[in-house]
Symmetry: C2
Amino acid sequence: MDDALKLQMLFQTLGDSNRLKIIGFIGEKECSVSEIVEATGMSQPLVSHHLRTLRESQVLETKRSGPFVYYRLKDQRLLSALGIFSEIADSIEDKEVNSTMFCSPQWWRMHWK
Amino acid sequence: MDDALKLQMLFQTLGDSNRLKIIGFIGEKECSVSEIVEATGMSQPLVSHHLRTLRESQVLETKRSGPFVYYRLKDQRLLSALGIFSEIADSIEDKEVNSTMFCSPQWWRMHWK
DNA sequence: CATTCATATAAATGTATATTTATATGTTAT
DNA sequence: ATAACATATAAATATACATTTATATGAATG
């Protein structure tokens, strides 16, 4: 797998609100699935699905301990990198299509041309 | 639009190989659409479509000059931020499902369970 | 060993989005 | 004004992906 593809897959993994929420909650900790379910308010299967994606893309790694499975960041550098991107993202202005909340630009075009 | 959503949308925008290719080619320069078409080998409408996405998500900004439209990065900090993420991405190992090139993890599960 | 709790998977569904092909808009020069 | 070129949009298609509901696995405990 070439490096550009790795980068693209990493961004794709991070490009989901629920997964970012999970990463943000875990932070430097080590969390069980149920803690994540509780903290995020997402359903357990949905959390499990996203955790699988995060594990397969090697953003998270796991450790089983009895009946619990603990997830933690595989590369702690990700946290500071997220901080940098947050700053860049903050400078994005809410104008036109972006202000539609929950609706993608394409949805907007589709329904209101 | 809240900050978490901005971050998610930025990552989503970056999570596409063709868009990363475009960003990488533009770099610190200012490029016309045809230059990008030529450099990337993508079709003109496809380039145009991705440029629109990149502009709407405020990664790129544009300037018209005669018949040409020039695109450049709106925030130069993005380049170094991409460098940081590249390093993180490089440490990702090519194992199991990731080695399938062009096929998503979900595709893999689907066809080979 | 059966029950309970934690987590994972499967199937079904709806929606988002990349790509192609075809066509339109906009600008310049003849 | 029309031809030629640069770019953008539209329609059509195919696929990827998030989410829900239902069920399975796997570990601990009575």
